[in-house]
Amino acid sequence: MIPLAVVVFGLLSVAAVLCLVRLGRGPSMLDRVVATDSLLALVVTGLAASLFFGVDSTVLTALVVVSMLGFVGSVSVARYVGGMLTEADPEPEPGAESRDEAEPAGPSEEQR
């Protein structure tokens, strides 16, 4: 039983350290987000494995909560980085309408 625990938790610990390496090195925020997501999945695996070794089954409650909410962080950071959380364009000033009548071209959004 003890060698099996050492093997299983050793493998998970090495994987967690590698995720931490990517968390530190990742050149962008999205790489760190992926590393955090993997870290949470490793936590889920480790908690499930601890049930095998005689831990009380109340960790299952924590397990369900972690697996349910673990992706909220990565989706939130992805939405922030992708610009979906910035405010909408402010309403145009009253003086802008006369400028629009003076412009012969169409809206500038299609030119991007």
């Binding site: 999945a41 299952l60 992805a78």
Partner: protein, 141 residues
């Protein structure tokens, strides 16, 4: 008696295999060159590792409540992993976090060209992150 010990051995093997898949995900996260490939490593073998470990624990702890709750856990992991992977990879693709020289087939670029919309960033990057892994014009390092 024998069934119990057989189930325990099978559960131990499944547990070690699940941990190995988690290690595979960790190695892939460190070694892969690009955001999308790291996403592949961080979600697919990872969820398989969770599944195998949960099956192993279910076989060892032969209890109905544990089985039901672990089924819920695995279902939630399977549902939420593609959502976060899709969001992160879509945003990363648009913000040039992707090494386009490593892509062998870019279906999203073809689709956006066919629709007439410009692909890539719109030029007005929101605050918070500078794009990394810009596609190199020369050969990759």
């Amino acid at each position: 008696m024998i069934l119990n010990s057989v189930l325990d051995v099978v559960a131990a093997v499944l547990l070690v295999t699940g941990a190995l898949f988690g290690l595979t995900a960790g190695i892939g996260l460190v070694r892969f060159p690009d955001l999308l490939t790291r996403m592949h490593a961080g979600t697919k073998p990872q969820v398989l590792g969770v599944l195998l470990s949960a099956v192993g624990v279910t076989l060892a702890v032969r209890s109905a409540m544990v089985t039901g709750l672990l089924l819920v856990v695995v279902l939630l992991q399977v549902i939420t992993a593609p959502v976060s992977a899709h969001m992160v990879s879509r945003v990363g693709y648009r913000r040039d976090n992707v090494r386009r020289d490593l892509l062998s087939f870019d279906q999203l670029a073809q689709a956006t060209e066919a629709l007439g919309r410009p692909s890539g960033t719109s030029g007005e990057d929101p605050p918070g992150d500078t794009p990394a892994d810009a596609p190199p014009a020369a050969s990759p390092t």
